[in-house]
Amino acid sequence: MPEPPDFSNWSCPLPLRDYPTVVMGHGGGGKLSAELVEHLFVPAFHNEALSNLGDASVVPLNQERLAISTDSYVVQPLFFPGGSIGELAVNGTVNDLAVSGARPLYLSVGMILEEGFAMNALGRIVDDMAKAARTAGVQIVTGDTKVVEKGHGDGCYINTAGVGLVPAGVNVGPSLARSGDVILLSGSIGDHGMAIMSVREGLEFETTIQSDTAALNGLITDVFRAAGSSVHVMRDPTRGGAASSLNEIAAASQVGMVIEEVNIPVRTEVRSACELLGMDPIYVANEGKVLIFVAADAAQAALDVLRQHPLGKDAAMIGKVVDQHPGMVIARTSIGATRVIAMQIGEQLPRIC
């Protein structure tokens, strides 16, 4: 039996003491996940690049800047309306690199397969990965496969890591939002999460909602071309939804935000599904959307460019960055009142990506 960790010399052990075991919330993308990172991983690994907590880390390499990112995919079910774990695994890491300002180049793949997993299911997943990689313009250059006994591993878990290069002059990051910035959203939110919900046991419903999984690097390149250094922050709102991303950026940049609820694009069916299940689309996971914080004078140009791209046709201006209430994201409700968009605690929906 391994020794329990010694919390006494950690900087702030208290929150972890509340949970002697890992709970699902630790993987939810909300406060619990953030605490695990802040109080366990960051202090242990201890370096500047990690502490920035961007979607990817940008590190100097000779004269270049290298971006590195990794993500693991444990989605259930493996195949869902609009995609599969394979597409998520490629697009997710490509997107983390792209929103950090990098041109995604190479991916590694680690697969953990369960004994007894059907070979043609694996074939489909691999095929999906290959197609996604081709579409994104990246190469999967190395990988590893492990098999675990039946009963461990839920079919298939995938980890992808990716590297890219950040062009000179590009500087984006969660701490760079400035008062006056306009907040753009590239399209409708909640599609991925509700697509998964629709096939989850006990909660199934008939719908045409599809996951929005997509590689955003092409779209993002267009935005940089149009708005250049006016782009300050980009983030793809996955687990925890747009709410989590907005809150993380507000905290990192120490700015406030005001969001217009009526401007947030949500597909009718996604809205209905959220009503049915008592969920708020702003907390639901996405896999093919990007939030862009851009200086006000370049906002219209950026928005126009988004709307011209097939992945950004529903793009909208959803709010702005303000000096007041730093760290807090406030929304104007549909009836003209205000409410706070708080950080989610644990998981709204487990095993979403």
Partner: protein
């Protein structure tokens, strides 16, 4: 969505609010009974549109919040048993018992499942005859028909491995208890619209007679709530006290008679202790003798339950409308949704959760000027 979006129209909301402001000349305290209404008010900021004379007081309309601690601990003990598949609605998962919650039980290896409908639990029982499937049936009168049907069908089918842990509470006795309390200062009630869609509103004239307060049956969307408040204020300003139905498209005087028939068959009225409030006579339902075989509290003997409430928790006062959540000293400090001291901080109908999740640390006024 039809019959939803139209009742959220921003312009009309402003109009209704203007009407209310026009007609309000004195301070009034109006209690909305249902937690769903509390959430709608806080989430949409409806209270920010009201004139300062009107104070919305949040009532005990959160069945999860008022389920006795003993029953929560009992549920946790049952869920921890190895052959049990424990099913409940999603927001029960983080309700704190004396030591832990269902989330922890799941983390420790318990088979805890979130279901959308009690019929999903019945289905699980059918599909898994070797498991004991227990459904946690918590709710007001709105949810009782669903829970009754689950137990009724299980009995019809002879599903021996299904049972329900029932914690049903009733609204009219709660209103009476609040009005009878020496600290009461409520001038009028917004009755819970969906409770009334099941039960009708025949029970309310007696309460109006006894306590001389307007009771207006009200829905949940912003326009419904504003209309309910508008009619309430009109009565108050005119010195009237009667029952009014402001949710006519859904609620009738008689309610759903078919549902009431099955409810009579399956449940009987019982005295119930409301967590944080105390004993309210004839305020709950339990399974009748004919259905007791399906009563999980009978089927599972759970010993040694020592209930311990947090001494810092003021849920009871919040539920009675004596304290606003952000007036509780522990709010946002020792008590957050992450580590809740009481059920009101985690239930989707709990007032404390509404205040925390929609940012009511600062006053409504400060928020409006943000």
């Amino acid at each position: 969505m039809k019959y939803l979006d139209e009742f959220r129209n921003g312009e009309t909301a402003q109009k209704l609010a203007a009407e209310i402001r026009r007609n309000t000349t004195r301070p009034w305290k109006i209690m909305e009974v249902c937690g769903g209404q509390t959430h709608s008010i806080i989430r949409n900021g409806i209270d920010q549109l009201l004139p300062p004379e009107i104070e919305m007081v949040h009532g005990p309309g959160c069945p999860v919040c008022v389920t006795p601690l003993e029953m929560i601990d009992q549920a946790l003990a049952i869920a921890s048993q190895p052959n049990v598949t424990f099913c409940s609605f999603g927001d029960m998962l983080r309700v704190p018992g004396s030591e832990k919650d269902l989330f922890r039980v799941r983390g420790d290896g318990g088979d805890v499942r979130i279901v959308y409908s009690p019929l999903d639990a019945v289905k699980l029982a059918r599909q898994n005859p070797e498991r004991e499937v227990v459904f946690f049936g918590v709710g007001f009168e709105t949810t009782a028909p669903a829970n009754a049907m689950a137990v009724y069908l299980a009995k019809q089918e002879g599903l021996r491995n299904f049972s329900a842990l029932i914690s049903h509470v009733l609204v009219p006795p709660a209103i009476a208890a609040i009005m009878s309390s020496p600290t009461n200062c409520i001038d009028a009630f917004l009755a819970a619209g969906h409770v009334c869609s099941v039960m009708g509103y025949r029970q309310y004239p007696e309460l109006v007679e006894r306590f001389h307060v307007p009771i207006v049956v009200t829905g949940f969307e912003p326009l419904d709530i504003l209309e309910g408040i508008r009619r309430t204020v009109n009565q108050l300003e005119a010195g009237e006290a009667r029952v009014e139905n402001a949710y006519e498209r859904i609620v009738t005087l008689e309610g759903n008679v078919t549902a009431q028939t099955l409810l009579q068959d399956v449940f009987e009225v019982v005295d119930r202790s409301w967590r944080g409030i105390g004993m309210i006579p004839a305020s709950g339902w339990q399974l009748r003798e004919a259905y007791r075989d399906f009563d999980a509290s009978r089927r599972f003997s759970v010993r040694d339950i020592h209930t311990v409430e947090s001494p810092l928790c003021h849920s009871g006062e919040v539920l009675q409308g004596i304290l606003k959540p952000n007036q509780c000293p522990a709010f946002g400090k020792e008590c957050t949704p992450r580590k809740p001291l009481g059920a009101t901080m985690v239930s989707s109908e709990g007032a404390c959760a509404a205040y925390y999740n929609y940012g009511r640390f600062i006053s409504a006024d400060q928020l409006a000027h943000a």
